[in-house]
């Protein structure tokens, strides 16, 4: 679903229907899909701007997501947020944040509210390898460890912070060890293997829900597309991309595994793909048919009325 949705979003961007920045999740799908298998209703999720996959995996309606991408009134933010800023309180999805690193203290604050309210929830705080060099990330790590806050820091290490490879940006590339100074345990996970992600998530959730404080999961993953739609990704070789795509694609790997286990056959996959494509087409049509926000919307939602 995420793959097909993102392909279509890329296409709508190409048609000029989606504007501004648009960061696609293609290649990284196993991370959020694997972890969401461990989520309960009380949990919350927060991420940065490569967020379409997280929204769909949180159960948000692809129609509302696509309509936000096209800047229409039926979008999750009434057309006022765009690709990087969408939210659904109902689904526990707290954005969608455009400032690298800023969502980490916010996610830690959501974890603070879980603990304060004793609601049993955990915050899944996703960010990229690029954000791990931001100072505020460590301010948040410190407080989360100090106060034993229920937060799982998910570092989606796709090897590039925009066009700069992790080796050129980080003095230490073992990102799972970035919490050591605060006593936060960390783990490396094959983020291209949905089963491995699920299992790591299960263990992490058990640890964090048990009141032991935060944990870090470093997901080794890969984005097939450029950083955003306007990035030609010249900083990496075609061979590197082809290898990841050919040998490590998370969807292919899951498909082969299920075929091998005879859990599903080819026919069933085709049916599934067809149904997903139909849903994506429906969301794309919906997103183009939905009207642009009324000009009066320009001045709404700036402040809440005082009761």
């Amino acid at each position: 679903m995420i793959r097909r949705f993102e392909e279509r979003a890329g296409q709508l961007y190409g048609m000029g229907l989606i504007g501004g920045f648009c960061h696609l999740y293609i290649g990284q799908e196993a991370v959020v899909v694997g972890l969401q298998g461990n989520v309960i209703d009380a949990d919350t999720l927060i991420t940065t701007y490569r967020d379409h996959g997280h929204m769909l995996a949180s159960g948000m309606d692809p129609k509302g997501v696509m309509a936000e991408l096209t800047g229409r009134i039926d979008g999750y933010s009434r057309g006022k947020g765009g690709s990087m800023h969408m939210f659904s309180r109902e689904k526990g999805f707290f954005g969608g944040h455009g400032i690298v690193g800023a969502s980490v203290p916010i996610g830690t604050g959501l974890a603070f509210s879980h603990k304060y309210n004793e609601d049993g929830g955990v915050n899944f705080c996703y960010f990229g390898d690029g954000a791990t060099n931001q100072g505020q990330v460590y301010e948040a790590f410190n407080m989360a460890a100090l106060w034993k806050l229920p937060v799982i820091y998910v570092i989606e290490n796709n090897k590039y912070g925009m066009g700069t490879s992790i080796e050129r940006a980080s003095a230490s590339i073992d990102l799972y060890r970035r919490g050591e100074a605060y006593g936060i345990p960390g783990k490396v996970v094959d983020g291209m293997d949905v089963a491995a992600v699920y299992k790591a998530g299960q263990e992490a959730v058990e640890y964090v829900r048990g009141g032991n404080g935060p944990i870090i999961l470093e997901m080794k993953t890969y984005r097939y597309r450029g950083h955003s739609m306007s990035d030609p990704a010249k900083y990496r070789s075609k061979e590197e991309l082809a290898k990841m795509r050919g040998e490590h694609d998370p969807i292919d790997r899951l498909r082969f595994k299920l075929l091998e286990d005879k859990a599903l056959d080819d026919e069933a996959f085709k049916e599934m793909d067809k149904a997903i494509k139909a849903r994506v087409t429906e969301s794309a049509e919906f997103a183009q048919a939905s009207p642009e926000p009324d000009p009066s919307e320009l001045f709404t939602d700036v402040l809440r009325d005082v009761a």
Binding site: G14, G79, F87, G109, D301
Partner: protein, 457 residues
Amino acid sequence: MATEILMPALSPTMTEGTLSKWMVKEGDSVVAGDIIAEIETDKATMELEAVDEGTIGKLLVAEGTEGVDVNVPIAVVLEEGEDASAIVVSAAPQKPAASEHVTEAESVAVVKQPAAPKPVFDVDEPDLGETAEITVREALRDAMAEEMRKDEAVFLMGEEVAEYQGAYKVSQGLLEEFSGKRVIDTPITEQGFAGLGVGAAFGNLKPIIEFMTFNFAMQAIDQIINSAAKTLYMSGGQMGCSIVFRGPNGAASRVGAQHSQCYGAWYAHIPGHKVVAPWSGADAKGLMKAAIRDPNPVIVLENELLYGTKFDVPTSDEYVLPIGKAKIEREGTDVTITAFTIMVGKALEAAEQLAEQGISAEVINLRSLRPLDTETIIKSVQKTNRCVSCEEGFPFSGIGAEISAQIMENAFDWLDAPVARVTGVDVPMPYAANLEKLALPQVEHIVEAAKAACYRD
């Protein structure tokens, strides 16, 4: 059904591009993700991927063609079982991008800002009722304590707020009453705990985030503005963030440039939150309570030098001031003097001296910088025909600049003299006692400015 591949826009600004190279030929089968062409945009050479699987039926644009408009069909892909006879090329290229942008531009041009000044509140100044003489420090503490008693979701977080009882003793006694769960000492990490507060507010708590001084909130200003103030709008009204950022603002005494600055104009500039600046003890109590109850982010700019000043403060725990309403502290007929926080005291002193010289000054305590009570200012200027704006901050793009623009826009014909600004001097705050005094606006500056506006010497 055969599908057309259109010339894609591959950057936010691209309108046409060069089809540099086809990576496929007619008859090739492709699956989603296969690279089919290289396209040169205004920014870079990009690869175009197939979105669906199928067979390339026809390449419509030759390799090397320059200036291909966005959304022009460049190839046709056939589905399984189709042959080339299924190809029907659209006659006219679709141009949704271009036409929509025109509509957008037009619609922006016709949308007008809601007319200013908009009356924010049509309410009377609430009665003080029974009062007690206490310090501003105690008034702030009482306001927080009363609201914490009322609402379990309210908590206080900041450096030294708990065990130390507040760096300036504002939170004295709160830890004992509310325990460490609700009165929380943080590490010295402003950006981190401000962001954590925003997250807690998204989680339906009502944080009061204390900055030891607003100078240190500069470390956290991204979280205050980008995360707290903008998220309600960016979420189409879904998220909201009921949070108070408070602490002493402005110049203290002999602490140098990094610890002495007024941030009134900085925060007042931003839509999506409110900014209040109390002067008296009643202001402090009433505005702090309003800030905590407000469903939006509210910045409370206190002043260290006022913490120890005593005022008659209402004892009622329902004394709440409306945010956005100024108070006329002293009525007058000859000149309007606007001021906020510590400058209100200086303005009142100046009014006293002016009265001795036969000039009747009206002193407006702004109380709130966003929303600014322009209505009260304009009404006063329509009566006095003169205005002196006072603030501790720098003159450039300051609150006085805004007040002066508002008066020009709304009361131009009533003015008998140019609006005067009494501000801090346009330099970083010096340390030396004599230089610091010269850098700060004093009572005599207000008196001089008011006399000049009245053409008296």
